[in-house]
Amino acid sequence: MLKQIEGSKAVAEAIALCRPEVICAYPISPQTHIVEALGAMVKSGELTPCEFINVESEFAAMSVAIGSSAAGARSYTATASQGLLFMVEAIYNASGLGLPIVMTVANRAIGAPINIWNDHSDSLSQRDSGWMQLFAENNQEALDLHIQAFRLAEELSMPIMVCMDGFILTHAFERVDIPSQEQVDAYLPKFEPRQVLDPGEPITIGAMVGPEAFMEVKYLAHAKQMQALGLIPKLAEEFRQQFGRDSGGLVRTYRAEDAETMIIAMGSVLGTIKDVVDEMRDEGHKIGVLGIISYRPFPQREVRAALVNCKRFLVLEKSLAVGMGGIVATDVRMAVTGTGLKGFTAIAGLGGRPIPKASLHKLFVEVEKESLPPVSFVDLDWEAVNKQLEREKQTRRSGPIAENILHDKGIVSAGTFG
C-alpha cells in the first residue's frame, strides 16, 4: 500500500511486519522516531506478541538483544553514533556468538565535536565487528532491506546492521510501498534458531575459547560473510519475485554501460549523484555510478566487474579514516588491484555538510580530467583550516580547535569570554 510517511515510520512498520518478539532500544537522534513508533505499536497491541524492553543504555540494549536472541526470540534494536559506540563490546559479542540480531543504524557522525547530523562514521567504525552492513539509498529500500535482513541474519545466524542516513532518510517524508502481512509472511519464515537456550535441552553459549580453537571460530565468522555474498543477491531476487521491485543486492550500477568515469558511493547521496550524472550524460560525458549496498560483506568481485571497463573512478564517501583518507575507497582500491585503473577519493558530507549538485558536478569534471589529488575534501573551508593552522604555529596556547573554528566562522554562541 502506497503511503506518504516519514522514513522512520516506514521502517517501524516494516519491522512490525517482520514479527519481532523482542525490541529493546535506547533513544538517540536520529534513530528515536523508529523505536518510538514501535513502542507505540507494542503498547497498543498492534504488534503482538512482542515485548518492548526499555533499557538504561545502548550497552544494555545490545546485551538484552543478545539474551533474547540466544533464547530464540527474533530480536531487534536500533541506534546511532555515540549510542553505537557505547554498545561496542556487546556488538562484538553478538557477532562472536553468532546471534542473528537485526539493528537499524540511523547513520550519524561521531563526536567530539558533538554533532547530531549525518555521515557514515558510526557504522563504518564497526567495519570489522563481524556484523553485516547494508546501506539504503532511499526510504523504500530502507524498508525493504529490513525485511531481507531478518532472512539473511537468521539463515546465517549472524547479526546485521541496516544503515540509513540519519535525518536525510529517517526524517524525510516520501512515498513508500508498505507490503502486506501476507507478503512478508510468505517471504520471511518463522525464526528457527541454529542455537537456542532451552531448559528442555540445556546448552551453554559463550564458552571461553583458547588458542587451540579461537582461529577456527573467527574463520567461520569470515566464512559466513563469504556465504552472504552468495545469499544476498539470491534473497534480493526472491524479494523481487515476491514484492515486485528491485531492492537490495550487493551493488547496483547506473548508466555504467560505456562509462569512462565511474562514481562510487553508499546511501542516500547516490540519489543526488544520479541526478548529476544524468545532467552530465546530457552534456555528453561518459560517466556512470556504482552504488554499494552491501558494505560488509564487501563484494570485491562485483565491484571489480563494475569498474574494470572504465578508465578512472572516484569513491565519494561520508567517512574519513584519519591519517589515511578513505575507508570505503581502501576496499574499492583493493577490489581493482592489478587493473591499473586510476582511483580518486573524495570525502564529503561529514557531520551533515550538505552535498549539493553543483559541488558534485565540479568534482566529477575534475575526476574526468584526472586533475584531483588522490584524496580531496568536498567544500572544505580552507581559509578556516589554514587560519587555525597558522594560529597553532604562532601561539603555544592556541586553544580548543572546535571553538576556534566556530568563532572564526562567526557562529555567535562560540564567542570568547571577556
Binding site: Q4, N138, A172, D275, P356
Partner: protein
C-alpha cells in the same frame, strides 16, 4: 520539480507544514519529499524545512537553495535572516502577517518579484479563531494552494484529516478554507486593480 521552503520558529509546526504539504501532493498522485533542516530545534529558534514536488521520483537530497516558493510563518524573521535567499525570479512568497507588504518593509523585495506571486495572510489570527491557538500551519498551506495553484484545497484538507482528528481537524479545515478564500479574493482584487 517545484521546491518550497518554509521558515518559522520552533513550535510553530514548520516541519509539520512541509510534511503535510508533501502529503497533499501525494494525495494528488505526485511524488513529494519533505525534510527538515536537521537542526537541534528549540522553541522559538529559527527553523527551516523543505518540500519538493514532482511528477517523477525525487532522488535529490541537497537542501533547497533556489526555491520556487517561500512560506514565512513568522514575520519577525523577515529582518533577522535572509529568508528570501535564492528565490527564483518568478517565485511565490506567502507571509503570515496581517500587515501589508509596505508595512512589513518589503518594498525592495516587491520590486524583484511579480505582485501576483506575493501575498500576506493573517494565518495566526485564523488559527486563533478556528483552532484556539495561533498555529499558522493549515491556513498557510491553504493560502499557498490559492496563491500558486500547485496543490488543491481539497488535498490540503485530506492532509489535515490524515494528521488530525475530531475538533482539531475541524478547526484546521475551517481555518484552511477561510484562508483559501481570503487569498483567492486578494489575488482577484489584484488582477482587477
Amino acid at each position: 520539480m517545484f521546491e518550497v521552503r518554509i521558515h518559522g520558529r520552533g513550535g510553530q509546526g514548520v516541519v509539520t507544514a512541509t510534511e503535510m504539504l508533501s502529503v497533499a501532493a501525494f494525495e494528488e498522485g505526485r511524488h513529494a519529499q519533505a525534510f527538515p533542516s536537521f537542526g537541534s530545534e528549540r522553541t522559538g529558534a529559527p527553523v527551516v524545512a523543505f518540500c519538493r514536488i514532482d511528477d517523477k521520483e525525487i532522488r535529490l537530497r541537497e537542501p533547497i537553495m533556489e526555491p520556487d516558493a517561500i512560506i514565512i510563518q513568522d514575520p519577525t524573521l523577515l529582518h533577522q535572516i535572509d529568508v528570501f535567499a535564492g528565490l527564483k525570479p518568478d517565485g511565490y512568497v506567502l507571509i503570515n502577517s496581517s500587515h501589508s507588504s509596505e508595512a512589513l518593509g518589503l518594498g525592495e523585495l516587491l520590486k524583484k518579484i511579480k505582485p501576483q506571486r506575493f501575498c500576506t495572510l493573517p494565518a495566526a489570527e485564523l488559527g486563533l479563531k478556528h483552532i484556539g491557538r495561533p498555529i499558522p500551519n493549515a491556513p498557510l498551506l491553504a493560502g499557498f494552494a490559492a496563491l500558486s495553484g500547485i496543490i488543491k484545497l481539497e488535498s490540503v484538507i485530506k492532509a489535515i484529516n490524515e494528521r488530525f482528528s475530531g475538533k482539531i481537524a475541524e478547526g484546521n479545515i475551517a481555518a484552511a478554507t477561510e484562508a483559501y478564500q481570503l487569498v483567492k479574493k486578494k489575488m482577484e482584487e489584484r488582477v482587477h486593480a
